[in-house]
């Protein structure tokens, strides 16, 4: 019943939206545009933060200002019964903002459906908002099935060839993108300096290692010492040069490293990461091989904190009778 009535509203709105031209703005913005009250910022602003009110975006919730028909300057004397009507009919639906943006997207699709598209894999990678995030943002209980349909439109619009993408499209997609885009966080590439050295930095536990890797014959110096002097345990030595060993590059590169902090195991494994990163600067194609060898990911584990009532992090005190 509910769904059918909403569908009715949506179809009705579909017909309506064709009459609008230009950009589809959120409702409250349109109310502001009416300029019925002289300052946009009123004392009845409901925002909880003091300075948030200056942003006139869709996120801030504000009540419609009091109607002041005199200030509008229009001669309304001949009108006996007047009431303001919202620009968008979706004002009376349960999900006004969502419906607005849905309709806007539909309109865009209709307008630009003949533009060439690229495959989804070639399009710029974007982290889209999840349903939960989107609901939280607009404060409306958007139905999952509606959201999925909406996202189909979003993704279709996103596939428009970037060179031919019209101006309004990106703005319309913006509310559906996550605020933080992990894919845009691209690490800075490690340069190879004029001596052919690449500097990689690796960490493990509380050790920090810096490794300069240069093409050579397999010599390794760590803190000015040979590998054998730096690490008494053969296992640690193997850890330190594991990226080179795993990719069969032991005799192709020299390593000069500084490592500090932590114990021997931590230092050795910090070196693994540092050497791997520097090696990747020389040969980026080795990344899958190094990832398989476990040399790319930083191990985030640290010492577990001690808890009260325990002797260490987990150890319980000895049982004592009475």
């Amino acid at each position: 019943m509910m769904a059918s009535s909403r569908q009715g509203i949506t179809t009705a709105l579909k017909g309506l939206c064709q009459s609008f031209r230009g950009q589809w703005q959120p409702l409250d913005r349109q109310f502001q545009a009416l300029k019925l009250s002289s300052p946009a910022r009123t004392t009845r602003c409901l925002s909880t933060t003091t300075n948030a009110s200056d942003s006139s975006d869709a996120l801030s919730i504000r009540a419609a200002p009091e109607l002041n028909l005199d200030a509008a300057g229009a001669d309304l004397s001949h009108i006996s019964n007047a009431r303001p009507v919202p620009v968008s009919a979706s004002y009376f639906s349960r999900m006004s903002q969502f419906n607005d943006s849905y309709l806007a997207l539909q309109k865009l699709i209709r307008s630009y459906q003949n533009l060439p598209v690229i495959s989804a894999a070639d399009a710029e990678r974007v982290a889209w908002k999840s349903l939960v995030d989107y609901r939280q943002m607009i404060g409306e209980h958007v139905k999952a099935s509606d959201f999925i349909k909406c996202m189909e439109l979003v993704k279709r619009l996103h596939q428009i060839h970037p060179k031919l993408k019209p101006d309004g499209v990106d703005e319309a997609l913006q509310p559906f993108k996550k605020d933080v885009q992990p894919f845009s966080n691209v690490p800075k590439p490690i340069p190879i300096d004029r001596f052919g050295r690449a500097l990689g930095v690796g960490k493990r536990k509380s050790s920090v290692a810096r490794a300069w890797v240069v093409e050579g014959t397999g010599e390794v110096q760590i803190n000015g010492k040979t590998l054998a002097d730096a690490f008494g345990r053969v296992h640690d030595r193997e850890s330190a040069v594991w990226p080179l060993h795993a990719t069969g590059r032991t005799d192709k590169y020299n390593v000069w490293a500084l490592v500090e902090g932590g114990g021997t195991t931590g230092q050795a494994e910090a070196l693994t990461l540092a050497v791997a990163k520097a090696l990747l600067a020389h040969e980026p194609a080795l990344k899958p091989a190094l990832r398989r060898a476990g040399c790319v990911t930083r191990d985030p584990r640290r010492v577990e904190r001690k808890k009260h009532g325990r002797v260490k992090a987990r150890k319980m005190p000895a049982w004592v009778k009475r």
């Binding site: 014959t217 010599e219 590998l227 054998a228 030595r237 040069v241 069969g248 032991t250």
Partner: protein, 475 residues
Amino acid sequence: MSAPNCLRGCLVQRPAGGAAATLLRHSTVMPATAAHFSTSTPLHGNMMKPQKPGPKSKVLLVAKQWKKGKVADRGGKSPLPGERKAFRKRILLSNNNALPVEGLTYIGPGDLLDHKNVGKVMSIPDAAVDQLRTAEVFKPTQTWSIFRKPSMLVRSETVDLLNRMHTALGKEKALRLVIAGDRITGKSMLLLQAITHAYLNDYIVIHIPEAQELSIGATEYAPVPHSDPVQFMQPNYVLKLIQAIRKANEKLLAKMTTIYSHPDLPQNIPVSSPLLALANSAKEPESAWIVFRALFQELTVKGHGRPPILFSLDGLAHIMKMSEYRTAAFEPIHSHDLALVRLFTDCLSGAVSLPNGGAVLAAMTRGNAPRVPSLDLALSRRAAEQAGRHKNQLPQRPAFAKDYDDRVEAVLQTVELLQLQGVSKPEARSLMEYWAASGVLRSLIDEATVSEKWTLAGNGIVGEMERAALLTSRF
């Protein structure tokens, strides 16, 4: 190690006869003179209470017996005194499980001088093996016991050292040299190679295998009569040394004859009797030092068909400090006041010359060596000199340092220094191929494997290569 032993012992000695038997046995263990006081509560309680055979006291007694342990009841023969040490120190030079390596040649008299042999693995001839064993040149830490027969890698340093020895021999001078280097770089092995070369080329070899045996106070000592300032001889050690020299160099000693009369010897050795007879006259520790002096005097005569001498010592740092011995006035004795050590240091410093040529070699050790600042300083000065530094730019003593020793620095004033490092990659490859051929290293020996082990071993340190490649299960 001790836990399984203990468990085994306890299981064996657990009495079958029940609590009564346990009690009886235990009462024999407790000494009658023991005070009736114990800090251990269960033991104390047990002694105070009248002991009744019952389930409770049985448990207590068994527990007590487990704690005490009884050596005599182990079941099986316990090792005799010294047997464990002998087992620990035994030297196995062959292993029939290892594969015989084809194409392995024996070292000839001139082979270690030939640059063509650098990077080859060669076997020690059997006669020389016996001599080396007599002189205790092999060490228990070396991995002879996993190969078919004792063989070694000819390094470039080996050929270099032996050529220097050869050149010195031509000039009728002694090469005085200290072999230094990092841990397990093959210092003792290089010494062994030099000694092998010496035996093959009819040198007289006097080798002190462990310098610490002279200075840690483990062997008897006595003042040398009529010495001023007083020196101390170590009669038992010297007797053992003479016997080793006699046995290892028997053929040579038999050929030479004495040219001095030695009136103070315990046994009359007439002039032109064989040196072997002189060496044989050392029967008692009391006369050992006198015989040794006489033997050394005879050997260092110029001409008379005397062979060159190789005087070598392993563990130099141990004789460059105060010894553990004390004078009658309980003053500590400097190692250089021990007569045998003094003879060696005099030879090393050049105060006593070897007129027929030869070498005085001292190998450093990193395993158990005391820190001797003067030794380090002197060697760093020699290294700087060899690197071509000007005399004014040599390392100096710290201004207010106290623990420096003039005598040590005087000894090392003019020695040469051989700094051992890792082997080169071709040498490493040859060595690894030998390991693979012996069946102890089961991997394909190619560029990558060699390079990997070479890197893991701190740029080709031989002992570390062994650790990384052969002894992986041990660490």
